[in-house]
Amino acid sequence: MSLVGEGAELSRPLGSAFVRAEPSLASVEDYLALLKPRVMSLVVFTALVGLLVAPGHVHPVIGFTALLCIAIGAGASGALNMWYDADIDAVMSRTARRPIPAGRVQPGEALAFGATLAVFSVAVLGVLVSWFAAALLSFTIFFYVFVYTMWLKRSTPQNIVIGGAAGAFPPMIGWASVTGDVSLAPVLMFLIIFLWTPPHFWALGLLKSDDYARANVPMLPVVAGHDETRKQILIYTLILAPMGFAPSLFGFAGYLYGAVALACGAMMLMLAWRVYRDRTGSATVSAAKKLFAFSLLYVFAVFAALLADNLLARLGLGA
């Protein structure tokens, strides 16, 4: 049942004519879905690693507060993204069941929800933890909502390359919550996620290119074709694999991390090569699916190894 009125303009909620407010049928689960919990899990995990590997000590309550604010800030970005992209989401099979296009949450409700959480997450992080970390969080939200969602996503096939920066900031914010500054180590963590984003999303883009074309989103497979996308995936993975090893190279991580980063980087490269090589039949879909699935594992494995390596070093067991 849709509660969005016939006259509701989903494409540009801010510019829509006034629509009489109807009783909301939104459930608590719908509001939680606006926070994009699966994306949030990656944000929280990488921020946790950034926070724990940072030099110095942070009280568990302060650390928990920082993580909560980062998670809520990421959720706010997701809600604002869903508000703005409701028209796109409605025509894509992957996103058509989201709360706004499904009619369970009205655009104005999502906007108010996202904006409120964004302001509160930044303010609470600043007041209780660190204003530097809060500034980074506010920039991340700004970048994701205004630069990626409102500008890049609909205008350039480089949308997820540049927009990927927003997803790469959380470990840096976690680090800054402890140290109050940013050094080489969090920049390396940023670069790993930044370079990981294109192969990850373009593998999905290869699988869902019809969806993106229908929604007029200029993803690389739609604009430049699948073959060019495969080439770009391979190029970015060729840069990602050595970048993944960089924390060991710069002395920020030990052998355990180095071994995991090398193994996962080699696996990413092999799967990217298969995506590049297999261009006909069912193998092409299978290769893209495998790369997409492993890319999720890659970022979790590499950051988990970084955390484990750091903990071992603090216990005097690292090499």
Partner: protein, 53 residues
């Protein structure tokens, strides 16, 4: 001549149930926020007023 009374918007039972659930969620969120500020104040002690960049 009498006009029919305007009852305004009448919520269905499902809408009432979901509104109640949303209200409880907001109350819990505010409770967590209060508890958070209380806990951080205890942890920081007098240093709660020192907020370095």
């Amino acid at each position: 001549m009498t006009e029919a009374p305007d009852d305004g918007i009448v919520l269905t039972d499902e809408q009432k149930r979901r509104r109640r659930a949303r209200s409880i969620a907001i109350a819990l969120s505010l409770g967590v926020l209060v508890a958070l500020f209380y806990a951080v104040t205890l942890v920081k002690g007098p240093a709660v007023l020192i907020r370095p960049l």
